[in-house]
Amino acid sequence: MATLFGSGIKRREDPRLITGQATYVDDVKLPGLAYAVFARSPYAHAKITRIDVSAARQAPGVIAVYTGADVKDRLVPVPCAWNVPNCDLKIPAHPLLAYDKVRYAGDAVAMVIAETRAQARDAVDLVDVDYEPLRATADPEQATQPGAARLHEEIPDNIGFTWVVSGGDAAAAFQHAEVAVSQRIVQQRLLPTAMEPRAAVAQYNRGSGQLTLWATSQNPHIHRFLCSVMLKLPEHRIRVIAPEVGGGFGSKIPAYPDEALVSFAAMELGIPVKWTEDRSENYKVTIHGRDHIEYVEMCGTRDGKITGIRTRVYAGLGAYASTAAPGIPTILHGLVYSGSYMIPNIHGTIYGVYTNGTPVDAYRGAGRPEAAYLIERLVDIFARKIGMDPIEVRRRNFIPKDKFPYTVATGLIYDSGNYEAALDKALGILDLKAFRAEQAKARKDGRYLGMGLVSYIEICGLGPSQVAGAVGFGGGLYDSAIVRVYPTGVVKVYIGASPHGQGEETTFAQIVASEFGYPVENVEIIHGDTDNTPQGWGTYGSRTTAVCGSAVKVAALRVKEKAKLLAAHLLEANEADLEWKDDAFRVKGSPDKAKGMAELALMANVAWNMPPGMEPGLEATAFFDPTNFVYPFGTHICTVEVDEQTGQVKILRYIAVDDCGPPINPMIVDGQIHGGVIQGIGEGLQEIAVYDEEAQLVTGTMMDYAVPKASQMPHIEVAHTITPSPVNPLGVKGCGEAGTIASAACLVNAVCDALAPLGITHIDKPLTPARVWAAIQKAKGATP
């Protein structure tokens, strides 16, 4: 069993998933279930002058129709839970149903409850609303300009916060710099597109006063808390269950009006109510990601030393401040401006801007991909300017491996790293010399080959809680586990995190089974139900293994510690004379005198013969709060060929070398990298949420939003270096977001390298053929 930790065993969650036996929220059936459908604003910005729901109320099968007027005094607006300090944060009320004004296309104005989905849908067409349209904008830079449409009366310039990050003296650095480069960068809006749309089923027992809410949630304890606020219902009367959840990528972190309204209806009507999003509804109302317009600069010396970085960022918030929104472009973005490098002078000003778009919140990587992108783009632009190989520039500025823990100018303390090793490994896989030769030859033939490279770092494993408090995060960032050993020795582990595809039912079982000398089948991981799991803070920010996995490990060690005392008692030996060897506690020198965990579990649970003072039972709870974030890193390389005639980008190779500490299950780690890389390539190549002049989302279905397809995506060559983190007992870092953080920048760097002979230094992603072709035309002096 010694090899279980670190072994790529098959996932334990799969048998139910590959046979159709899994239960997602929309699969939940209850007797008497009714269905909710929302009437939503077609306008991005309008006054509501009249709502008439009388016809809808009369429609066949309709049980109830609610408007904003019905709920505004009974329910609390959707809370924002990340009150970033020192930035003049303004959080306007986000009513659950709009009653005076709608602020984005999709803002709900009424909820219809009917006996069937079809009846509810039919009745929505009968909700009659008069709107008085107002000017609208979804552009976060435009929205700050004088005369722009004003979303919230109390925020005249639409600026929700102005947050500054500063370290060293950037002004002086730029003033005295030998070289400086600058770039305007647009990091487009993205649609998270978890394959399972959001859904909620609420059931209220009037007798017991208990509300049960099945929800598509990455963090059921957070949803319990936020629903308790919105519904004014005490937390202990709410049970949130996140059953099988079909992907999240951040979009299932926030509290939304929908699940609270469905709960409200269930409580009002005394019947269970279900709501399930359509995909086009999901694209309108479930949070979006990114949406930055950035003015960025880098300065340094002619011999490649980077001395400063400076940014001004307009970060779109959308119409309201979603749950974690203020923290994303600030704490999770601006603090990471040093990247993998020793950059002594850093200054960033980030404006959080309300616009008439769908609210923006955490999307895979959340703030960190935007940071990695601007840093890694700037490094390439800077290298081009000084005529140095961008790889050499990176080497000259890397934080050396012997300097960890290392405090960067923004104040973060990086835990551990060996950036050059990852870079060298990636270059070795590529065979750089051969590629450059091929590229040179291709250029002579008029073909455009390019190589992009990114050496990223990531801040993840979100904790510690003290830092969470200091940066205004409205919760803790520890996590928890109960390890409960049954009389027959088998184990159930109840965790505070809430995996939804990441495979922790397997990896966490590997942790416990390794510790107990068990086959993995003896351990079951239970998650996603607030009534039987300890308080936890959810699965996001690549934190689950580093934080909750550590709690599992600590709880398992506590169980084992007690088991050891019991073993000593039963073996009539001194605890000091026992050692854990070959899956049992054994008396040193007399290895036949041994007790395994299964036998000790039985003895502890029957409690016939306990040591004096020892309580019966064998279980332990652990709340693990890390001492620092973890900082995974790596180097990705992408090679491309650009078709000059059509602007099409063909990815030739994609190499990912990531360091996320020791992998518990390498197969699962690689799967996370694959998925993350492809999400970032989608961002780099084809994904973009587009709003028109009236702030209408014109990429509102999968016909127009280009979710990557298998045929459009490359094979990825994956490798790792292993540098343990000192901040948790597993030594692990995170791997869920790493791929996404690196790959968009990597692709754009490759295309800009390919087109370097034309003098092209930057093209805003996504690099659709149309955009690449236009850039080529512009570089050639033609009007596209």
């Binding site: 969650e13 048998p15 590959i18 046979t19 399972e196 995909r279 694959h674 492809i678």
Partner: protein
């Protein structure tokens, strides 16, 4: 407007009352409780709703239940033989071809049809074959590996059966 429709699903005949406008996927999920078939979009693109109709992969969100009368329908629940997983199910498990699992039933059923047409596909052919099935978790790489591996298993099985 409801009318009786008889559907043969996974070898069993079901007569259900449906409106003509009822989509096959809604009847499978809501009426017959076969919730392994999923809905991931509303424009016939994601393929999460894929089932086999007379052996052909079909998007059940773009098929009326009344149109399916008299056909043989296979959903993910009917693919395994008792406790023996279909080689594609086995391969998806072994190759880590799924994460959240939401797209998986449709992905597997598309692959069943595809491998019947093309028993020995290249990676590239597999990638084209699953264009109508979107996955947001895996980056497709292990799905391609799984389908390739299942193809080999199925070929070996057919060779064995022929011998």
């Amino acid at each position: 407007m409801e009318r009786p429709v008889t559907l043969n699903i996974n070898g069993r005949s079901h007569t259900v009352q449906v409106e003509p406008r009822a989509l096959l996927v809604h009847v499978l999920r809501d009426t017959l409780n076969l919730t392994g078939t999923h809905v991931g979009c509303d424009t016939s693109q994601c393929g999460a709703c894929t089932v086999l109709v007379d052996g052909q992969a079909v998007k059940s969100c773009t098929t009326l239940a009344v149109q399916a009368e008299g056909t043989r329908i296979t959903t993910i629940e009917g693919l395994a033989r008792g406790d023996t997983l279909h080689p594609l199910q086995m391969a998806f498990w072994e190759k880590h071809g799924l994460q959240c699992g939401f797209c998986t039933p449709g992905m597997i059923l598309t692959a069943v049809d595809f491998l019947a047409q093309n028993p020995d596909p290249t990676d590239d052919e597999i990638r084209h074959a699953i264009e109508g099935n979107l996955c947001r978790c895996t980056g497709y790489q292990n799905i391609v590996a799984a389908i390739k591996s299942a193809a080999a298993t199925l070929r070996a099985g057919n060779a064995g059966a022929a011998a």
